[in-house]
């Protein structure tokens, strides 16, 4: 049974941390298809967070097809997450390098770049949330 850990100071919303930790556990093989995820009640008894947060995380995972919720029973793992195909990953990495070079050339320092990136990521995430 996986145990969750929420870092309030990380800036990452708790529900997202749970999603990430489930995916991480899946990738590392700690849990596999057919295993049951901790019930919402178990999670919040362990880590004092709002049950809706866990619910949202499990729903997100369900939407991605990684888990399946069976009413009255629990939430069960369906499959491991796919990584992006390696060529796509390489392509993304190359655009990122290009962007970073432009940012450095424009005179941005470390913190500005990180801040710009974080804000962009956050806004993109919320847009995605809103459309989801």
């Amino acid at each position: 049974m996986i145990v969750f850990h929420i870092d309030s100071r990380s800036g990452i919303p708790p529900y997202l941390q749970i999603v990430q930790q489930v995916k991480h556990a899946l990738r590392l093989g700690m849990i596999g298809p057919g295993d049951q995820l901790p019930t919402i009640k178990q999670v919040v008894a362990d880590v004092a967070i709002n049950p809706n947060t866990v619910l949202k995380a499990y729903r997100d995972l369900e939407r991605e097809g990684l888990v399946e919720g069976r009413p009255g029973v629990g939430t069960f793992v369906l499959r491991r997450p796919d990584g992006p195909p390696p060529p796509l990953l390489a392509q993304l990495r190359r655009s990122l390098d290009r962007w970073l070079r432009s940012a450095f050339d424009a005179g941005l320092d470390h913190e500005s770049i990180a801040s710009l990136f974080e804000t962009g990521l956050r806004d993109a995430l919320s847009e995605e949330e809103e459309t989801a």
Binding site: G11, D46, A48, I49, N50, P51, V54, T119, S126
Partner: protein, 306 residues
């Protein structure tokens, strides 16, 4: 099934010459964990006492689960309350305290109460006065939960608890929310613990409602912007909630519906604590209280709620 847990309409309460609450209007939905935040004296305890029927309004009205509080045993039975400093009968044993709950309530889930305290290893034959603060908090919570309320009101339950006890209390509370779907209103003057537990925020200031909204929406709509010192009103940043001007810099908490494009501003996300501080005007050098031009009129609930 009611969808409004607590509804206040121009609710006011006066003690002698002081107004503890003034013209408060709130509409809190059910199935939420509501953080009721504000400095000491803001009116949190008064609001909770009005909601439980311990106090009567001076003017305006309050309804809980659709009913007038305290009027009859039926509504009393549907609300659980833990008062500030968690009063218990000190020379009762834990078991006797639970029996008290059973005698004084129509519905009582004995297994829930006993099971909960067993899980926490709180001995039932021990006198309540000899328990630690955290254990007493758990006993108070167990009594409030065992009556299976629809709405649970907690007045500063975390105030005198050490961090571990606080975590345990919140975990127990969340477990109950997950299992029974009880709506919770939790008051505190510390904000740090509340962000991951609460999904709705009410900020009281000087007896008025400063904020009443869903937390996710609030964090989405508020930003902290900083830039070179500005004089006068700020443009292009949405609505300014709070603002600090130093000799070189201006930092402001703003409320905006879309992204802030103006490159002069460094834009940052805010967490719950910063939102609360902004609305309370608690920042050093902050001008919310001081300058009437810059001060934001507390938004009506319909505006801020997202």
């Amino acid at each position: 099934m009611n969808t409004i847990a607590l509804e206040a309409s121009s609710l006011s309460r006066r003690y002698g010459g002081t107004w503890a609450l003034q013209e408060c209007s709130l509409s809190l939905p059910t199935a939420r964990v509501v953080a009721l935040v504000g400095p000491n004296g803001a009116g949190k305890t008064t609001l909770l006492h009005l909601a439980t029927g311990l106090l009567q309004p001076t003017s305006g009205s309050i309804h809980v689960l659709g009913e007038v509080p305290g009027a009859d045993p039926e509504i009393l039975g549907r609300i659980g309350f833990v008062a500030q400093e968690m009063p218990l009968y000190r020379n009762f044993t834990v078991a006797e305290m639970l029996r008290f709950g059973e005698e004084m309530n129509r519905t009582w889930d004995r297994d829930l109460a006993v099971g909960r305290l067993e899980k926490l290893s709180i001995p039932s034959s021990q006198k309540v006065g000899t328990l630690s603060g955290g254990q007493r908090a758990q006993v108070s919570l167990a009594i409030a939960l065992a009556k299976r309320p629809e709405l649970l009101l907690l007045d500063e339950p975390l105030a005198s608890l050490d961090p571990l006890a606080r975590r345990d209390f919140l975990a127990a509370l969340m477990e109950s929310v997950a299992e029974h779907g009880v709506s919770v209103v939790l008051s505190s003057h510390l904000v740090a613990d509340l962000e991951r537990v609460c999904d709705h925020l009410v900020v009281l200031r000087n007896g008025h409602v400063a904020v009443d909204g869903d937390i996710v929406g609030l964090t989405r709509k508020h930003r902290l912007v900083s830039g070179p010192r500005h004089t006068g009103a700020l443009a292009g940043v949405g609505e300014v909630i709070d603002r600090v001007d130093t000799d070189r810099q201006t930092v402001a908490l703003v409320r905006t519906d879309g992204p802030i494009m103006d490159p002069t501003w460094d834009v940052r996300d805010v967490d719950l604590e910063e939102i609360v501080l902004g609305y309370l005007g608690g920042r050093e050098g902050s001008s919310v209280a001081a300058d009437p031009l810059l001060r934001t009129v507390p938004p009506a609930p319909s505006e801020v709620r997202s």
